[in-house]
Amino acid sequence: MDIKDIIKPENLVYDKSKLQIDTIMHYCPGCTHGVVHKILAEVIDEMGIQERTIGVSPVGCAVFAYNYIDIDWQQAAHGRAPAVATGIARTNPDKIVFTYQGDGDLASIGAAEILHACNRGENMVVIFINNAIYGMTGGQMAPTTLLGQRTSTSPGGRNVELNGHPLKITEMIAMLPGVHYVTRQSAHTASTVRKCKKAIRKAFENVMAKKGTSFIEVVSTCNSGWKMTPVGANTWMEENMFPVYVPGELKDNDKQVPSEKN
């Protein structure tokens, strides 16, 4: 069979979501942001909530997220996306609000905002891209940087006496009673991308049912910041990030028996 006979509209099995704008993304080759943007666009498209969804983009590489997905966006000050999303969600209860933040934004300068927004149980989705580095500004050490990891501000590796331990903010958030659903995913292979998409869809369904905050951490790579190839960065993430940031479900109030609910 000739290739031309296979490439026909009736045989189409996978295509770019129509919510994704035809702009070439500014991200580096192999960046996990692109995969998560794609999953987000697919989920919003499949659920048919394009008109009702408002995203809050952070400061960081994903600051230009509004250029790539055709929904309403608001750009927030550094770390303040949960506070902005709180205002949007409270004044527009019929809208579906999500924030999209990196680890420098969420776990460092915005740690107070995210903890209190989650503790209040604001009705929103939080997508947390954890690549253990400040990617946009040149690969500096972040709160989530692993012990011994080399960055431009820790050239000898992160030292526990000088810099402290990596911050497991997702575990902290899972302890808060206001949060409904907390999970940690990755998006580096086809199977993990499918799992991550399922988790994001579940989070959006929780918000539609007004169940409270749903928090999704995506363990990601920053091959430019880590000074690796995209494929090498994925392998390094599996070997070094996963033992510290273990993928899996941390909290799901749907699965708990009523007496155990917070």
Binding site: I3, N11, V13, Y14, G34, V35, A190, V193, P230, V231
Partner: protein
């Protein structure tokens, strides 16, 4: 002979040559081209088009969403 045939179309100008699709392909169909696109990246292409089964793993992992996949049963 395979019962399922697939085909992959890579949007040449959108590809950044990260080679994640090459790694994800279980059939070894994709490879990076020796030639470059207008932005200087070695874009991905179907090196062994006869082996493609249209599993869409490459499309799933592509960060730049530049892969379209077709599949047909024979």
């Amino acid at each position: 002979m395979a019962k399922v045939r697939g085909a992959v179309v890579v949007e040449k100008e959108g590809c950044k040559g990260c080679s994640l699709c090459v790694e994800a392909c279980p059939q070894g169909v994709l490879a990076l081209n020796k030639e470059v696109n207008s932005r200087g990246y070695h874009y991905s292409y179907m090196k062994n088009p006869d082996d493609c089964i249209g599993c869409s793993n490459c499309g799933m992992v592509c960060p730049d969403t530049c892969i379209t996949i077709y599949r047909v049963k024979i």
